[in-house]
């Protein structure tokens, strides 16, 4: 499986006309005939796009997980769908960070409630009053 869009130097969401012009302008005769056969027929292009999308996803996942040189990832597919490692971080680290942030927020709330309960209560009361006021004013 090759990435015909990449080889024709167009985006995967190019319109039929853009694809037709790119194919027309292609200098490589073998690639031109194949692209003509695959991308210029609507039903074929739809199915090709489905697999293309999945392989792009796999390529991105591999890039993020450091698997661009896996033993099961070889040939045309690996050549065309391997991406450069991007800035996306480990999702697990990201989740842990979010979790610790949420925990810190909860701690702060608890501390405030313990030390100055009247501020917390006042805050809640203000919010309730505001909501009620908006509720009265809005209709």
């Amino acid at each position: 499986m090759r990435d015909l869009y990449k080889r024709l130097n167009i985006g995967p969401f190019a319109s039929d006309e853009e694809v037709a012009t790119a194919v027309e302008a292609c200098q490589h005769t073998a690639l031109k005939s194949e692209a003509l056969a695959v991308l210029n027929v609507k039903a074929r292009r739809e199915e090709y796009d489905r697999l293309h999308g999945l392989l792009c996803d796999i390529g991105r996942l591999r890039a993020r997980l450091g698997l661009t040189h896996g033993a099961n990832w070889q040939g045309d597919v690996a050549n065309d769908f391997s991406l450069k490692p991007d800035v996306e971080r480990s999702r697990h680290d990201h989740l842990m960070e979010k979790l610790s942030q949420a925990a810190a927020l909860y701690d702060t709330y608890q501390r405030w409630r313990r030390h100055c309960p009247w501020i917390v209560a006042g805050g809640f009361a203000t919010i309730t009053l505001l909501t009620l006021g908006i509720g009265f004013l809005s209709p």
């Binding site: 074929r44 999945l54 993020r64 045309d76």
Partner: protein
């Protein structure tokens, strides 16, 4: 504040009793979704697989996430699974994934690449994956499909055309058979004379034209008067009477249009 909000899959993972099992379930659902859409049979199989896992939440929530093909959720699941199921410990998971990919005996190109990704993720060598695939499905792990080549489409459309022609031929055949059987049913029952002729040829009412011919040849050879020449005039005379009877019965039946 938007970054501190948890996505649906992150929430599932946090609430799960066993994070690895939840992650495995999401990846299995992704394997099933990548084939195309999630069929009821796939849902059933995933439900069965979820029964053996200890995730402690409704597996349909995970299927919903997988159907959206949310790349971040899949990445998170891959990271969790990679931590806990590396090498040999990944094999049960991989065989479940293989079970999901194979549909009426053939492997789609998409599934081939997904399985390759999972094997690389979990540190399973290509050789081991091939062996496992052979054990689970009894077929070779290979993918010859390449939709980026014109030859793939030509071959594929040729098989489509052949299948279409076969279908039409079958339809025609059944149509003809129906017509023939209707004719047979409508035909009047055999008369006495026909039945007698058939009895002479040692056949019953279900005989076909070719059977009548074969029976006639056999009996004509057995009862031919020339065979009885050495036994004297009397035997030749009786044999010739019998032979005449057989011949007449045969000729009578051959004139009957009901024996097709």
């Amino acid at each position: 504040m938007a970054s501190t909000r948890f996505s649906p899959f992150e929430l599932l993972l946090l609430k799960s009793r066993n994070q690895t099992d939840t992650a495995a379930l999401l990846l299995l659902a992704w394997v099933a979704v990548s084939k195309g859409s999630l069929s009821p049979a796939d849902r059933q199989r995933l439900g069965d697989m979820a029964g053996s896992l200890r995730h402690g939440h409704d597996h349909r929530l995970v299927l919903d996430v997988a159907e959206e093909q949310d790349l971040q959720a899949i990445q998170l699941a891959a990271e969790v699974l990679q931590r806990d199921r590396w090498g040999e410990r990944a094999l049960p998971f991989l065989s479940q994934a293989i079970e999901l990919t194979v549909q009426d005996g053939n492997l789609a190109a998409a599934s081939y690449h997904v399985l390759g990704f999972l094997a690389d993720l979990l540190g399973v060598a290509p050789q081991r994956l091939k062996q496992l695939f052979l054990e689970v499905t009894g077929t070779q792990f290979a993918c010859s499909e390449d939709p980026s080549r014109a030859s793939y489409w030509q071959a594929r459309e040729r098989t489509w055309r052949q299948r279409e022609q076969e279908r039409q031929r079958e339809q025609r055949d059944t149509h003809q058979q129906e017509r023939a059987s209707r004719q047979k049913r409508q035909a009047p029952p055999f008369g006495d004379k026909t039945l007698r002729a058939l009895t002479i040829l040692e056949l019953d009412a279900s005989a076909t034209r070719s059977e009548i011919k074969r029976a006639y040849r056999r009996l004509a050879q057995a009862h031919h008067p020339d065979r009885f020449f050495s036994r004297g005039e009397g035997d030749v005379a009786t044999a010739s009477v019998r032979f005449q009877k057989i011949k007449k019965a045969y000729e009578y039946l051959m004139k009957d249009a009901r024996f097709v």
